[in-house]
């Protein structure tokens, strides 16, 4: 299935993906209104190491530990996409404890959120990919050794 991949060689560490993600999931049509003057809660985050940056979002694992560990049954897999029913989440953070990629984090309400590939929001395709200025983030099918 198509996933979001990052080519760390091309990541600039500009963090635009985080802002584009937060905006795409804000439900608003104006980025300024959506993001100005408040902390953002993106579903992708830029990892920064020594001389290296790259964005990480949910890998949509074949064998998702978060889903198996979710105490509320809020996380589930649908057509290969790991989805979250945010109404069910109680904010126990067990998924944060188990996700090997650090891909889950709470929003401002303490309810978990994660990348759902922008399938449900108005973006329609991953906003991080569309907005990446250097094609460091791509949305494509790849052979993977999981």
């Amino acid at each position: 299935m198509k996933r979001v991949y990052v080519n760390e060689q091309w990541c600039l560490g500009c963090h635009l993906c985080e802002y584009n993600c937060a905006f795409a999931n804000s439900g608003m049509t104006d980025m300024v209104l959506a993001l100005k003057g408040k902390p953002i809660y993106p579903r992708i985050h830029v990892e920064e190491g020594e001389k290296i940056t790259y964005a990480v979002s949910c890998r949509h694992c074949e064998d998702p530990l978060c889903v198996k560990s979710c105490i509320a049954g809020a996380l589930f897999r649908q057509d290969g996409v790991i989805r979250i029913d945010r109404k069910k989440c109680v904010g126990c953070f067990t998924c944060v404890l188990v996700c090997p990629y650090g891909a889950l984090a709470p929003n401002e309400d303490g309810v978990m959120q994660k990348c759902e590939l922008c399938l449900e929001n108005s973006s329609g395709a991953p906003a991080c990919v569309q907005g990446c200025p250097n094609r460091a983030i791509v949305y494509e099918e790849r052979e993977e050794s999981q």
Binding site: E8, I71, G73, G91, L97, P100
Partner: protein, 410 residues
């Protein structure tokens, strides 16, 4: 066609159903559920008390779950005996369920020590099931004084759920600290302070000597009047079914990494088991939710003729109180790296080139990266540990590992 029987209807049972169905989509599955409810996750009951969820949202799976999974659920039934010779489980209504594969997902039961005078306490509750929580929910009022015996995970989550709804909440425990099963002294002190700031009162290193109606007389001499008593001292794995069938049990039903018990054809999963803990390299009861599901799932696959092994189970807990989250995993063995602020503490334990365990309070971001290092036994020498100490980041891994993890072109 085979016939699978699962005794118990918790998360381990759900894992078992889902495990079976990865291998065998046709054979019948019978689930024996003592509670008159579809599967839900027991740790949610404190959130129910806190009104953060409700019975509908607590459903672990959707309403068509059992139907979709081809399961027959016998609600309100209890298994009383296993006839291993005939491969049959006997229920309390006299039904005999023949099985090709049986999974015991029978969980644990609250353990109630004998307190003097407890029989005269009117309003006493345990805190295991949704029914328990509903009873407590119905009993609590603005002027209730609540005493909770047990400052472990269950007792404190109960306290958190009730503290805003009662006049006062006191918690006592024999241990000298809160959450003694998962936190060391310093970390427990930080958490205790936080809990006290949220109107909880503690009697630690202390226990109830005797109850006199609605008053607890403590060993320390303290006198604690209360209206509601919650007993959350601890739980015991339900092992009797297997023990009586002649199976091997210790503090839990002994299972190997395929979740097989000592009796052929019988598997066990969840809080009732004593299984492999890779963090200490020996068996122990790992009564935590992710483990219940994973064990159930593993058992299910193996019951249906597959070959699955749960090799990397470790203790791990994520528990939050009033916005302050504590996460722990593995064992607190070896050298310690510590970072501490007013509101957070991070302790990483490492030994023999491996991360062995951690305690994180108020600094849980991406903790799963640490957890994965413990589970996968990633050699510390293969990562940038200095970077990793400061923050859980996959950037600390080598380019090769990152490539593998993220499938990216590096």
């Amino acid at each position: 066609m085979r016939q699978y029987v699962i005794i118990g209807n918790g998360v381990a049972a759900a894992g078992c159903i889902e495990g079976i169905r990865t291998m065998d989509s046709k054979s019948g599955i019978t689930v024996v559920s003592e509670e008159n409810r579809a599967v839900y996750c027991r740790p949610l009951i404190s959130y129910f008390l806190e009104k953060k969820t409700d019975p509908e949202r607590m459903q672990y799976r959707d309403v068509h779950y059992y139907e979709r999974m081809g399961c027959r659920v016998l609600y309100g039934k209890k298994a009383v005996q296993i006839h291993k010779e005939n491969c049959e489980a006997e229920l309390d209504d006299g039904t005999f369920l023949p099985y090709d594969g049986l999974c015991l997902a029978v969980g644990s039961s609250p353990f109630v020590p004998r307190f003097e005078g407890i029989e005269n306490v009117e309003k006493k509750f345990s805190f295991m099931t949704l029914d328990d929580a509903m009873a407590l929910d119905a009993a609590v009022s603005d002027n209730s004084r609540v005493l909770i015996v047990g400052a472990g995970l269950i007792g404190l989550k109960c306290a958190e759920g009730i503290v805003g709804r009662a006049a006062s909440v006191a918690v006592c425990d024999l241990a000298d600290r809160v959450l003694s099963s998962i936190l060391d002294t310093d970390c427990a002190a930080m958490m205790q302070k936080h809990l006290e700031e949220h109107e909880m009162h503690f009697y630690l290193n202390d226990s109830v000597k005797r109850f006199e109606k609605n008053t607890a007389y403590m060993n320390s001499g303290a006198v604690v009047p209360f209206d509601l008593l919650v007993l959350a001292v601890g739980v015991r794995a339900n092992t009797s079914l297997l023990r009586e069938a002649g199976g091997e049990v210790n503090r839990g039903i002994i299972v190997n990494r395929q979740m097989r018990t000592s009796i052929s054809g019988i598997f066990a999963a969840g809080d009732c088991t004593e299984g492999w803990d890779s963090s200490i390299g020996q068996n122990r009861v790992l009564a935590i939710l992710p483990n219940a599901y994973l064990q159930g799932y593993t058992a299910g696959i193996n019951m249906a003729g597959g070959s699955e092994s749960l090799d990397n189970a470790i203790p791990m807990n994520s528990i939050g109180f009033f916005g302050l989250h504590a996460m722990t995993a593995g064992s607190y063995d070896g050298d310690m790296y510590e970072e501490k602020t007013e509101t957070s503490i991070k302790r990483l334990f490492y030994k023999d080139d491996l991360l062995k365990g951690f305690i994180l309070i108020g600094c849980h971001e991406r903790a799963g990266i640490y957890t994965s290092m413990i589970r996968e036994k990633t050699p510390i020498s293969s990562v940038n540990f200095d970077l990793l100490k400061k923050a859980a980041t996959t950037a600390a891994f080598s380019a090769q590992i990152r490539r593998k993890k993220f499938g990216g072109v590096v």
